[in-house]
Amino acid sequence: MSCWETIADYALRSVGIGERLLPRDNFTLCQQFTLIGSGLIWNVYFAVIALASGFFLATAVALGKASRIRAIRKPSEWFIFLFRGSPLFIQFFFAYFLFLSLKPVAPVFDPFTSAWAGATIVLFLNTAAYSGEIFYGALRTIPKGELEAADAYGLSGWSRFRRIVWPTMLRLAWPAYTNEAIFLFHATTLVYFSGFPAWQQRGDALYYANYFADKTFNPFVPYPILAGYFILLTLVIIALFGAINARLNRHLPQEARRGLRLRLNVIR
């Protein structure tokens, strides 16, 4: 069987398209590369959905934590503390338990015991808490002068937030937020590893790497392949976020832009 056939059979195996049975013997490198790559679809899916939706909740939580109103500030603080203070592993465990017990209550909850919905929710809340803390830190370091300038222009309420506070907050938080995105992407490997069951052998990259390590009894091939894929995708994330960072900072003089890149030291 040529490598092209293997790719045709297994490239979309993780979403249930293609050959139903996984390879059982005579494992080739091509099979390992294809299936582990196929599993990456899930890692990218979890990361993209959680980051895209978590971003908005994170902004809300950051504003909540910076709020002067106690009834808003306290829940935001507790939300951040709970999700930042406990391992993702344990969050998955409790979420799965919760979704299982909610399932008999209403059919709405049916999808949440499978990874595509349930794990996404946990990752969404998790990244919202971590990013919320980063954004909150950035809110506190917005230069006083910019806020005074906003007041001087007569900006207030929504337009002050939309035009001054929010862009500056993003600009300041971006390097740390890039790190958060990388961490979240890596954390998606935990989904099938200890959180949610794999249906019909459809799993993420680590699931297939684990499968091959299990069948060949040789961990030194599949895991480095997995590591290689992740290094490549991490570079993609860095490039993508770097481009956004350049756009956020495009109004600044060259020298100051360079200075901002160095703030890449607040990581999750």
């Binding site: 930042r84 406990s86 391992p87 592993f89 344990i90 030194f220 895991y223 590591a227 290094i231 990581i267």
Partner: protein, 294 residues
Amino acid sequence: MFPFCTDPDTLDTVRWFACYLTTGKHMSFYLSFGTVLLLLAITAPTALAFGFAGAAAARSRFLPLSLFGKGYIAIVRGVPDIAFFLFFVIALDQIFEWTRHQVLCPDWDQPIRQGNDFIVCQAAKLPLNTAPQWMHETYGFFLAVLTFALVFGAFAANVLFGAMRAVPRAQMETAEAYGMTRRQAFWRVLVPQMWIYAIPGLSNLWMVLIKATPLLFLLGVEDIVYWARELGSSKTPRFTDYPHGDWRMWYFLALLVFYLAFTRVSEIALERLTVRLSHGQATAQGEAQRRAGA
């Protein structure tokens, strides 16, 4: 543990729990909290040392060294820690045994890799086959510490690399003006000042490190998660004096409380450290302290 524990079936609830929570297995569970704390206590400074070395290497003017430092930071940071843990400990163990094999058994004529098997001479085994069990466990723990330190060292290196570049250029220029060599300026001016810039990143890293400890069981160390799973799973009366249903929820709840409490304590401690390190620094907070003191 208690004298009345001989026949748990007859006990009332309070005494039953008193006995149940003091079985040998539970003692191992409690001890494993110590294991985790010990691991953190050893890993944190080791990872910091790796990070410092990595950052210093990445800053080096000697190109190969600089590439090595940057490569270490980029590669290890790019890989999910679970994937790393799943194969790295065995690899590390084999590297050590292979090295010892080369040194201790130069006249060994059989191949080390025989099919799937990895065979070194008896003298090169780590620990020796005759060593007591606690030596094996200590060695496993040592490998876990080293793996953790290597992974988190890369993140620490990234933070310190940023911090070294964040020290105001004027400070280094002043050092040069005083006639310090590059080495002197590095150790006497750069290193003492960089910590305040590194603290936010390092404290975040510490929080991540705490939360990575549930992965210890992947490295073959019997940690709190291993015991919580083992103790919490349902037990039939045939194999234990204390049968119960699926109690993993309660054990994981205990872990959750432990992690939250530990995080809170760390936050407070790090806050104090920041205040101390700001003392006399050329930052807003350091300036505020100076004014308050004056």
